[in-house]
Amino acid sequence: MANVTFPFPFPDHLITLMPEMIVAIMAMFLLLFDVFVAKGSKTTAYLAIATTVAAGVATWSLQGPDPLVAFYGFFVFDSFAVFSKFLIYVATALGMILSLEYMKNEKHIGEYYVLMLFAMLGMMLMVSSNNFVTMYLGLELMALCVYVLVAYQREVLRANEAALKYFILGALSSGMLLYGITFLYGVTGSFDFAVMGEKLAHAEGDATAAVMLGMVFLIAGLGFKVSMAPFHMWTPDAYEGAPTPVTAFMSVAPKVAGFVIFMRIVADLLPALQHEYQSILIGVAVLTIAVGNLAAIAQRNIKRMLAYSTVGHVGFIMMGLIAGSPAGFSGILVYLSIYLVMTMGVFAVIILMRREGIQGELLDDFAGLSKVRPGYALAMGLFMFSMAGIPFLGGFWAKYVVFMAAVEAGHLYLVLYALLFSAVGAFYYLRVVKYIYFDEERVAFNFIESRPMQATVFVTAVTIVFLGLFPDALFELCRQALVGLV
């Protein structure tokens, strides 16, 4: 860490944080602006979406060959952060687009988009952090926003309940995380990942117990955010209770941020403890994969099913972490990108299912869709096949890259195990297809059409097919993004 200097080199720092500044300022501006717009106006929403685009442009214009560091090493702007930021922008923007119609009838909708922007800001800070201070604060900023977003429909009882549960358990996980960080700080005397990693590599025998304790609590705290079993139990409740666009948002963006942090920690902080963290991550992955894929089978509510499906995907993504190699890391980025597209597409279709008197969240509500709206049916079928990992759709490559990385790292049995469960997982994805294509319509479809939603479904479906056929470019991008990290 650089020494504190006076006068403060303000402009340089602020330019490096340009995207964050834009988002923060726009969020606060929209908070005030929303007071003056008419009820039911979508101006705030559009401005919020525009903000994500602006942040994207700012990020793009800032990126260069060398990583930038600001605020005495508390903030990094490297190609890894750039890539993950773009994933977060896309996830947030899509989450907002999905909300346009869904949240239309809510009161005080302005704050909803403001909170989404703040959550995005938190995640942007997370992925740009190479130390525990920025990481923890970014994480809390994100978490706080998401708690509120889950509870946004106050009159819905299950939303309240879900949010409360999520909040309490989130507080517990934050406590665990902080406790772990404390121990690691105690051993190393630093918050900076790289410095800590250096110290840990030279730590003496005595330190083992303290380091292990810190590491386990760290993994538990972060594992909560990305839904690793057994820290996943909030996931189905929160997913089911939250408004569907929020579910879409929180099933993608925080996972991206969480895994990015995980990768930074694995790459910088824990290389000396490779053996230890691998052994516990393997245990967690085995449990996560089994829980996610098995419990999903018994679900009738598609949001709950997707919650468990997310847990399953997290288990697969973890294989990239366990591999711990550049191939594994780029595999995680590939997986996250493809997972983002699939998930957003699926939730867009689910939101379209909402109709007069029906939430559209039960599997039964999908029965016979293919006859009424073959387009939506086809898209949903594609997403389901892709999630099941059927070649040659995007989801197949996602699994493929992380599995290959794990095989190369010598975890053949783990991959076999994961393959087996991905076959089990195919069952419940396929069941959705069965409802759509082979069942009779039970409740009349009475769609509330909306252009942005249709566009989302279309674009995500095309992307999934395209990535399935030409995954090369994405692979290359993800490899590039790792330059400097590993």
Binding site: L157, E161, K165, I168, L169, L172, S173, M176, A209, M212, L213, M215, V216, F217, A220, F224, A229, P230, F231, M233, W234, P236, D237, E276, S279, I280, G283, V284, V291, L294, A295, I297, A298, Q299, P374, I390, P391, F392, V401, F403, M404, V407, L412, V415, L416, L419, L420, A423, A426, F427, L430, K434, Y437, F438, D439, E440, F470, P471, D472, F475
Partner: protein, 671 residues
């Protein structure tokens, strides 16, 4: 790109799979806007064109041309390169011709069969797309295109079995097919993964070239405590995939159920092409299988069990399509026996003849079903020959071919397999060879019996047609009978043609017609053994020699018994059934495979899911605390709910703390 004396046009080769794909896309995407006529003209036209091109390529290859090369690179991931390329040799072309010709016949047949169905264009789109996938499967030059085709044909098979999605049973059958195939695909994927892991390449040529060295290095891997030669592991894993796709015991259960699909599908996918993908794959990979005696023994054993067991089941089935379906399983078993005893060329030969006569049997059965108003029970048919002479004659030809009566097609190919089985001796597991010989010989008798049982019950015997359907009895229209006639030519002539023109059976040419497309170790080559025994040459020779062989009399015996039981003593079958009580029930219930799976896989899987749901979700979360919490909250107010909520968060938190506890304790104990 390496080319030999005669060049094949890349454009022409690419056009063969591309044409059905284009047809499928047009019919699939714009089907809603099309008249029936338009949809079938486009798809059928393209497939017929593709068939003609295949035949053209076939003649060129026969004249000595071949093609091997990568056309473009699909993907590069590090040192892992996935090329898209073609390998066109004698093995490939014979498959191409079979696939496209049968597909073309089925396309034409479908015009009549599916007439008026609401999903008409969709159906054509599916079968064209299926044809494309199958062509990719056979034409590719690496394991990746093989895998692509493999998965794609599975997908279209699933969609087509469930084509009549309003039928509950069709849905169920489609799911069953897909899931059973996933089990097979798991093995297949593991096999391909292992190949890439050990060889670092997925191209056939490279892998084949490396195999002898690889085997010489004696690479082994520990698997579940066993030390297995890597090559054996790879071959067996791939063979598990073949078992799933080709309906071999114990993964055969989906194939008879797949008959829920429309009949043209049964003919195209579940008789002639897709199910033979496993056979093709093993033959294609003969340079690997040859090096693993264990794998060959397993292939033989599985094939023999299937051939025999499915034949016994076929004896008592009453559904016309199910009889043929079990016959398909059984005949696929024959092909695998042929592969296992290293008579690859004989197996592929049988694959080809089987494709023609079995497709013909199915299409003729479909014609019958069409005539008797969708009745499939042969006990409710009889005397149909008077009404449908064309169907009658073509079906008779197909039945003779299946039973293996000379000079029909099935005779030649089946005879070759049987002789090879008798000639081959395994060094270590001698009993497998003996068992296979027993299975294929008794199988011949049973095949002849059940085929003619079905045939006589359908076309002869007493008239048991439902009076209601009687008025509709008529010969099918031309679009249905013409494909029957085309296929009948194949069912009669493809055997003789294969023996004389292709010289497949000639033991003096090492691998017969296939040349270097198939690799057989000299020590294994049963054709060479047969040659040493003074094998018989030429079609005429084989026919003349037939009366001196056992299979010939077994086949005639089977037909004779069927004739006796269903022509002369028509009361006898019921008596025999009654007398053999439990055995009959056992066979009628298909050896209780479905029930077995229900017990050992499906129920435990379901109960595990239910357990996690009931106990894990409902028990702890919903019923235990949350659910009760919600309802009581509405009833009794917020205070109580808060109290309950604390209870369940407690559980979540407890799980988290326990997780930390387990991980931490583990690490500290280890350190």
């Amino acid at each position: 790109m390496q080319e030999t004396a005669l060049t094949l046009s890349t454009t022409e080769l690419l056009a063969i799979p591309a044409l059905p794909l284009i047809g499928a896309m047009i019919a699939g995407l714009f089907g809603w806007a099309m008249k029936e006529r338009m949809a079938h003209s486009i798809t059928s036209g393209f497939v017929i064109l593709s068939a003609l091109l295949s035949i053209h390529v076939f003649t060129q290859v026969l004249a000595g041309a071949s093609f091997h090369g990568n056309l473009w690179t699909w993907m590069i991931a590090g040192d892992f390169v996935v090329p898209v390329g073609l390998l066109i040799d004698r093995l490939t072309t014979i498959m191409m011709v079979t696939v496209t010709v049968v597909s073309a016949c089925v396309h034409i047949y479908t015009i009549g069969y599916m007439h008026g169905d609401p999903g008409y264009p969709r159906f054509f789109a599916y079968i064209s797309a299926f044809t494309f996938s199958m062509l990719v499967l056979v034409m590719g030059n690496n394991f990746f295109t093989l895998f692509f085709g493999w998965e794609a044909v599975g997908l279209f098979s699933y969609l087509l079995i469930g084509f009549w999605f309003k039928r509950e049973s069709a849905n169920y059958a489609a799911m069953k097919a897909f899931i059973v195939n996933r089990v097979g695909d798991f093995g297949f994927a593991v096999g391909i993964l292992a190949i890439w892991y050990y060889y670092g390449s997925v191209e056939y040529k490279t892998v084949f070239a490396m195999t002898p060295d690889f085997v010489a290095q004696n690479v082994t891997l520990g698997f579940m405590g066993w030390e297995v030669a890597a090559i054996t592991f790879i071959c067996l894993a791939l063979f598990v995939g073949a078992m799933g796709k080709s309906g071999q015991v114990p993964l055969h259960v989906w194939l008879p159920d797949s008959m829920e699909g429309p009949t043209p599908i049964s003919a195209l996918i579940h008789a002639a092409t897709m199910v033979t993908a496993g056979v093709f794959m093993v033959a294609r990979l003969s340079p690997m299988f040859e090096f693993s005696e264990t794998a060959l023994v397993v292939v033989t054993l599985v094939g023999a069990i299937t051939a025999w067991m499915c034949a016994t089941i076929g004896l008592v089935q009453n559904d016309i399509k199910r009889v043929i379906a079990y016959s398909t399983c059984s005949q696929l078993g024959y092909m695998f026996v042929g592969l296992g005893v290293s008579a690859y060329s004989a197996s592929i030969f049988h694959l080809m003849t089987h494709a023609y006569f079995k497709a013909l049997l199915f299409l003729a059965a479909g014609s019958v079903i069409h005539a008797v108003m969708a009745e499939q029970d042969i006990r409710k048919m009889g005397q149909l020959r008077k009404y449908m002479p064309v169907t009658y004659i073509t079906m008779l030809l197909a039945a003779l071919a299946l039973a293996g009566v000379p000079p029909f097609a099935g005779f030649f190919s089946k005879d070759l397999i049987i002789e090879a089985t008798m000639a081959r001796e395994f060094t270590e597991y001698g009993w497998v060879g003996s068992f296979a010989t027993f299975a294929v010989l008794t199988g011949v008798f049973m095949t002849a019996f059940y085929t003619f049982r079905m045939f006589f019950l359908t076309f002869h015997n007493s008239d048991r047609v439902d009076p209601h359907a009687k008025g509709h009895l008529h010969e099918s229209p031309k679009v249905i009978t013409i494909p029957l006639m085309i296929l009948a030519v194949g069912a009669v002539g493809s055997g003789i043609w294969g023996v004389t023109v292709l010289d497949i059976a000639n033991p003096e040419v090492l691998n017969g017609y296939f040349g270097d497309a198939i690799f057989v170790m000299d020590a294994h080559n049963p054709l060479m053994v047969m040659a040493a025994d003074g094998g018989v040459h030429g079609a005429l020779g084989m026919i003349l020699h037939a009366p001196f062989t056992l299979p010939f009399w077994l086949a005639l015996g089977g037909i004779g018994l069927a004739y006796f039981m269903y022509f002369k003593q028509t009361t006898m079958p019921a008596k025999i059934a009654a007398a053999s009580g439990p055995i009959y029930t056992f066979l009628l219930n298909k050896w209780y495979w479905d029930e077995l799976y229900e017990k050992i896989f499906i129920r435990p899987a379901r109960s595990l899911g239910t357990f996690l749901w009931q106990r894990g979700d409902l028990g702890i979360i919903d019923k235990g605390a949350i659910h009760k919490g919600i309802i009581d909250n509405i009833v009794a107010g917020a205070a109580r709910m808060r109290a309950m909520q604390t209870g369940f968060v407690y559980h979540y938190a407890f799980a988290m703390v326990s997780g930390v506890f387990v991980l931490l304790t583990y690490l500290l104990l280890k350190a």
